[in-house]
């Protein structure tokens, strides 16, 4: 494999102890067939996920960012076997689950859960909150200690819901509260890993902050690992220890959050970061913006060589012929580019003077 050290790079740099690997993915691929409308013959493939390697450790948050359609959700769902992988392997909590049947997957789901962006559509409107949060126990045939109702109410209290609302229906809750219901349900089985797909994207900033704080508290309490998918880069920087930047189904760069923002090494990462609005009006015009021209190429017909080359200002002949492997450029940082940006050292810990 061309990705030596993602595996060993610990969360939050070398000083933090590295937890056990709870998710290990190698060479993950997911293609969707494109079928002709007449003969239902497969006439092509949407290459939604291409050759992804990733390790996620206990207690760690790995962020997944990239433009719409780059394959973040598909990666998250395939890693949890909600979709069948086209290629590669998946290990959850030390067990190879790549080829397990859906029935064999049931016990695995105790350790790995998912929460979704849309708190509205992911909750059955005809079920009470109590029934929704306890549904994982039912599926697993688990009898929680102290009884279902008491355990659900404990979970509700833990995520900041009023336990007296046990018998209410989703429609009676606000967006932020519904997201808490989704989180309580994901927690019911005390998983080791939760894949969070845009968990705060539909929420107002103040409610978003409440939910982010809750996720952080739960992580500390239960040593949870998160794969955190979001398009809001400031949210991801805040919550993630490491970040993988995706483009057209591939990981372009993976490194710890601070390095990524301080010193993006992949040209695409650099462009992505330069597009974030600056937070204060007096900073207007202080940053050079790299405007990417053109649209995302089609994932059914990706460019040869480096998939980013059609929009990259550094592209050379070599980029069209040779796929740049994701390789380590400095400890804990891997980049898939023939011409990565030079590293910027951390300046100092005092804020820059105006």
């Amino acid at each position: 494999m061309t990705t030596p050290n993602l595996t060993d790079a610990g969360p939050r740099g070398a000083s933090t102890p590295v937890g056990d690997v709870v998710l290990r993915v190698r060479g993950l691929q997911k293609y969707f067939p494109i079928q002709s409308s007449f003969l239902r013959r497969t006439i092509g493939q949407v290459k939604a996920v291409e050759n992804i390697d990733l390790d996620v450790h206990a207690g760690e948050t790995v962020g997944l960012v990239g433009e719409s359609g780059c394959g973040k959700s598909t990666t998250g769902r395939t890693m949890l076997r909600l979709l069948d992988p086209t290629g590669g392997s998946i290990e959850i909590d030390g067990r190879d689950v790549t080829h397990l049947s859906m029935r064999q997957m049931v016990p695995v789901r105790r350790s790995a859960q998912m929460i979704f962006q849309d708190p509205y559509s992911s909750l059955n409107p005809r079920h009470t909150i109590g029934k929704i949060i306890s549904s994982p126990w039912e599926v697993q045939g688990v009898n929680p200690e102290g009884g279902v109702k008491k355990s659900v109410q404990e979970l509700m209290a833990r995520v900041g819901l009023n336990p007296e609302h046990y018998n209410r229906f989703p429609a009676e809750f606000s967006g932020g509260q519904r997201q808490r219901i989704g989180i309580a349900r994901a927690l019911a089985l005390r998983p080791k890993l939760i894949v969070c797909d845009e968990p705060v994207s539909a929420l107002d900033v103040s409610i978003q902050a409440q939910v982010l704080n809750l996720l952080e508290d739960l992580q500390n309490e239960f040593n949870l690992a998160y794969v955190f998918i979001a398009h809001d880069l400031s949210v991801v920087r805040h919550i993630a220890d490491r970040i993988a930047v995706m483009y057209l189904g591939r990981v372009m760069e993976i490194t710890d959050s601070d390095s990524l923002y301080r010193s993006p090494r992949h040209p695409y990462t650099k462009a992505l970061l330069s597009a974030i609005p600056l937070p204060h009006p007096s900073m207007r015009g202080q940053r050079e913006r790299i405007v990417l021209t053109g649209d995302l190429p089609s994932p059914s017909n990706p460019p040869s060589g480096c998939v980013f080359r059609t929009r990259c200002w550094k592209a050379q002949d070599r980029c069209a012929t040779e796929i740049p492997p994701l390789s380590e450029v400095s400890p804990g940082t891997s980049v898939a580019c023939h011409f990565p940006e030079p590293a910027k050292e951390p300046v100092s810990f005092t804020p820059p003077q105006a």
Binding site: D204, S206, A209, S234, P279, H280, P281
Partner: protein
Amino acid sequence: MTAQSTGQVAGAGTTKRAFLELDELKVSFQTEDGIVRAVDGVSFALERGRTMAIVGESGSGKSVTSQAIMGLHSRRAAKISGHAWVDGVDIVTAPEADIRALRGTQMAMIFQDPLSSLHPFYTVGKQLVEAVQAHGEVPKAEARRRAVTMLDRVGIPNAARRVDDYPHSFSGGMRQRAMIAMALINNPALLIADEPTTALDVTVQAQILELIRELQVEYNMAIVLITHDLGVVAESADDVTVMYGGRVVERGGVDEIFSRPSMPYTWGLMSSVPDMEADRGKRLEPIPGQPPSLINLPKGCVFRPRCAYAQHVPDGRCDTERPDLTPVDEGHDARCFLTLDQKRTLAVKAPGTEEVA
């Protein structure tokens, strides 16, 4: 320019009105559960060439306000009072026909979801041509030429060819551009942009905001920009109106609002967003609780149930009395009982403020 209206016009010779001026605008809806006071007395003024951002959480009345400016509320369903003058025409009282004439020529709107203003069954070009022809006798060939020029102007590659495509064959960013082309094809003086980039990636968002800024200069447009993204406000707005529970709780120039936010709700907004410059370990400080019900507004200050500063105000005034919008500085007002001094010393500033102070 054409709209010399039959509606309530500011009598000639009286005080000069701003190009867009809202005066105690109120919009309420009768529902099964009671009367929803969605907009409860909003006032602001905006001149051509300038951008007013409206921020506030979901349900605070931003979209209802903008729809009232566009005259989009059905007068049967919504009860509207106060004034909304656009170039001297009061949209609240003007005849439907006058408002229709204004829409599409003097004022236009773009939305978060471009598919809501692009029809899936017609080519983009046909829709643009119709928009041109709806407001004047323009020969088809001329209208089509303008459609292509406009698509080119908003950055659609191969505009002359893509003009005959259907909306679904455009990417998200291109649809947003096509919708902007549609809104601007008749050269409006006022553009209302309701969350125009919320559904887009940062890269596309940056392109679209840049495009809107360029077109603003070119056409000298007044822009009302509704967004919940404070970064977008910091980059694009001249003035800011902060709404909470259907009313304006703070307003002022963009630098003022970010450097000296002056009431607790605005502080809450600013401390809720992760700060890209700060230490990652810093905990977010969200506003506790939920937005208020617009049917049963809390007594006293509408923000009181979520406010952590009310104990600084003597005599429990926050619980019993509604604060007015009062001046903090020239052109900067806030709706809060805290003293000027407290507003300064207790303030939580926007991310990035320290670095540039």
